[in-house]
């Protein structure tokens, strides 16, 4: 796998997760307390760094074939999940991920939550904001850790995967802090579609190698697998859009014929 493909796959996946985490932190900071939300963010990042420090060497110690089988299987399941959601969203059968709406809902819920009387004082002044930011960053960050470790160890370049992840997080966090509004303009759904294709393709490639199969053309075939998964995904979007439109037509005709 080329360094460029590794960097791109990890960077895009991390941008998607970082946008979601940033929305949660911004909601917690705007509605409750910036200091507590920032504390939750820092503690979650520390926990994630610990997970990488513990799991990284453990994963790297596995024999390459076993590693490729396990990682390939996990990536494949993970990638198919992403791709499934992205196809449903692209075909209009699932609500598109809307950061602006998620931010508004998050702010409303956070404002409605009661403030505990003993929360004043200390570094964390609002435990609700702390917990909201901590949970959001930790949960989105776990996916980032998983992608960094699987791509990095398989390609013997955890360092590059970590740099790609940090670059994505820094870019998104800087923009988020500068504008202090949800990053609704990031084409998150399209990026999820691309990441789903990449995860599925690399999962397929490594899974087959780990299970004892050998690809015709060796490493070159990964490009063919990426193209194949992309074509399959786009075909499914087209088919689902057409099916959805066809089913909507009789319903529209019925509603027009009914009493007004």
């Amino acid at each position: 796998m080329t360094h460029g493909a590794l960097f791109l796959a990890v960077f895009l996946a991390c941008v998607v997760e970082a946008v979601e985490a940033t929305t949660i932190v911004l909601a917690a900071g705007t509605a409750r307390s910036w200091r507590s939300a920032a504390s939750g963010l820092v503690v979650a990042l520390a926990v994630l760094a610990g997970v990488i420090a513990i799991l990284g060497p453990a994963v790297s110690a596995l024999p390459l074939r076993g590693l490729r089988l396990v990682v390939g299987a996990l990536l494949l399941v993970f990638g198919l999940q992403w791709l499934r959601k992205a196809i449903l969203r692209a075909s209009g059968l699932k609500a598109v991920h809307d950061e602006r709406q998620i931010f508004a809902d998050g702010v409303e819920t956070a404002r409605a939550a009661p403030r505990s009387p003993g929360s004043a004082g200390g570094f964390v002044t609002d435990w609700y904001a702390f917990t909201l930011a901590f949970k959001g960053v930790l949960l989105e960050g776990l996916e980032v850790v998983f992608i960094v470790l699987t791509f990095g160890t398989n390609d013997h370049d955890v360092g590059l995967a970590v740099i790609a992840a940090i670059a994505a997080v820094v870019v998104v966090a800087c923009i988020g802090l500068a504008v202090r509004v949800p990053l609704a303009r990031v084409p998150e759904n399209s990026m999820k579609f691309v990441v789903g294709i990449m995860l599925t393709a690399f999962g397929t490639f490594w899974g087959v190698e780990g299970a004892g199969g050998s690809w015709p053309g060796h490493d070159v075939s990964v490009a063919v697998v990426i193209a194949g998964v992309a074509v399959l995904g786009l075909l499914l979007v087209a088919v689902l859009r057409r099916t959805g439109a066809r089913e909507a037509e009789p319903a529209a005709e019925l509603s027009m014929a009914g009493p007004r």
Binding site: L69, G72, A73, L74, L76, V77, F78, L80, Q81, L83, R84, K85, I87, L88, L93, L142, E143, T200, T204, G207, V208, G210, A211, G212, G213, S214, W215, P216, S221, V225, G228, V229, L232, G233, L236, L240, T243, G244, E247, A251
Partner: protein, 81 residues
């Protein structure tokens, strides 16, 4: 007999922990995870015989994804009718 509160909360925590990891790894459709496991096992078995086995997983992806999407869309068409 009601279990002591500690056991109850531990059980609830373990359930939530297991649910989180199931949701994280398996996700919305368990059939895709099972299908991937079967495809990889078949690849291993076929590759041991010396026959080319690289096509099994791509073929499984080409079947699993449309089937899973069909499963996700099907209840909507039922509701409409």
């Amino acid at each position: 007999m009601t279990p002591p509160p500690l056991t109850k909360s531990t059980a609830a925590w373990l359930r939530a922990f297991a649910h989180f990891w199931y949701d994280f790894v398996v996700g919305d459709d368990w059939r895709m995870a099972v299908g991937v496991a079967i495809a990889l096992a078949a690849t291993y078995a076929v590759s041991r015989t010396g026959v080319a086995a690289w096509w099994i997983v791509p073929a499984a992806v080409a079947i699993l994804l449309p089937v899973s999407l069909w499963q996700a869309v099907r209840p909507r068409t039922r509701q409409r009718r």
